[in-house]
Symmetry: C2
Subunit: 222 residues, 2 copies
DNA sequence: AGATGTGAAAGTTTTCACAGCC
DNA sequence: GGCTGTGAAAACTTTCACATCT
């Protein structure tokens, strides 16, 4: 998970950059961001770590620690400027950019993800849809034409795809992941069950529907 | 998160039961389970923590620690009996039972979850579909008729629903969650963005599509 | 007074490393 | 020799509590 091109043997150095943020912190920042967007209805100038914490379901100390990794955004005695903080957190998360997303897998799940409004709203634009089944080719989803996955490589040439969403059947997962990696894409959001083997330079996040529900059945069984 | 009905003030006691398992451990057990099912193709009698670890993307010590919480399943020098271990892990997770699941939200995402084969295969049967939009009422999905969410309470009477999958629009999330809680359901798998406020006796697991992709944009931005 | 930012403490999770059994 | 099960160590994360600033 070390960043590519970093000088070796620097494990001990305090680090000028801001790699101290764990995945857990980033996940919480996303929650804070959502709360901040929702809170804009309140028309409050400022928001305290306490309020932000309650609405996100964490402790106020946690909020302050998370934010302090990236800067001193608050003002003692006052709290955080709500609008500014929303912008700052959005900036940290890389929102407010246009992310070019390709979806592989045009089944039920793929269709749902394609239609999901939350993505576009935050700058994630699904501009390509591919499927492993040639029978789906040329079907139109809005103004996007479904193409065979063999065309992924050409579409991604020149870094024209930032993120691939994988929503193919389980047995195709690794094969398609290999194609994605070969095409030079550096980020995968994987809905296909199972661990993907990819080079360290490629970031993968997993959303596993079965694991989520199994955790519930464990809790109910106890 | 404390179990309902537990005597108060027992925080310090070592606990005879097996509550030592964190959500992280349970999540990994699900991965192990999947790997074990896949590995049955190999027709190997035994499997070592090393192999199981490689295929699940964790360390072998982690596998052994996770399993040792629940029992001594392995044999020193040999490894684990693959078939038995699959059954044991399945048992821990509460699989191999018939779980009665209701889906609330018959949009694109709801449809995809309804069709998702991974659920049924592991004993999660979506037997009811509800929607907040009355226009959807009476539509048929397979042999399941979509009903207005007002009928949820009656359907859940007498503990006839184990788990509710929430896939409604963001602004309906808390309202429907309240209805679910009132109906006596004790587990929610929530696909709706945002934190739900529910009593501690109700288990909630979150699957947040936006948070998953934002974590990628953070990593790409760094 | 009110609320942040942050070292230090507490708690949790993971890894190490090896005794003990096959 | 191979591999588990597990205390102990290390690493990581969260909470505490308070100096610091408005």
């Amino acid at each position: 998970m070390r960043g590519a091109g970093a000088p070796a043997g620097d494990k001990r150095r305090p680090e000028l950059s801001m790699d101290r943020a764990s995945v857990a912190t980033i996940t919480r920042l996303s929650s804070y961001y959502r709360v901040l967007v929702e809170s804009e209805r309140d028309r409050q100038q400022t928001i305290s770590s306490k309020v932000l914490a309650e609405r996100s379901g964490v402790s106020s100390a946690q909020v302050r620690k998370d934010l302090s990794i990236f800067g001193n955004f608050g003002r003692r005695g006052l709290g955080y400027n709500a609008l500014q903080l929303r912008e700052q957190v959005g900036h940290i998360l890389g929102l407010g950019r246009h992310w070019r997303v390709a979806l592989v897998g045009a089944g039920n799940l793929g269709r749902a993800l394609f239609a999901y409004k939350g993505f576009r709203k935050q700058g994630f634009h699904v501009e390509h849809v591919f499927d492993v089944d040639p029978a789906k080719t040329d079907e139109l989803w809005g103004d996007v034409r479904i193409r065979p996955v063999s065309e992924l490589r050409a579409a991604a040439a020149g870094n024209r795809i930032d993120i691939v969403i994988l929503a193919v059947p389980a047995d195709a997962g690794q094969k398609v992941a290999n194609m994605v990696v070969d095409a030079g894409v550096r980020a995968i959001l994987n809905f296909t069950p199972g661990q993907l083997a990819v080079p360290a330079a490629v970031a993968v996040r997993y959303v596993d529907l079965s694991i989520a529900i199994e955790s519930l059945s464990y809790t109910l069984t106890k």
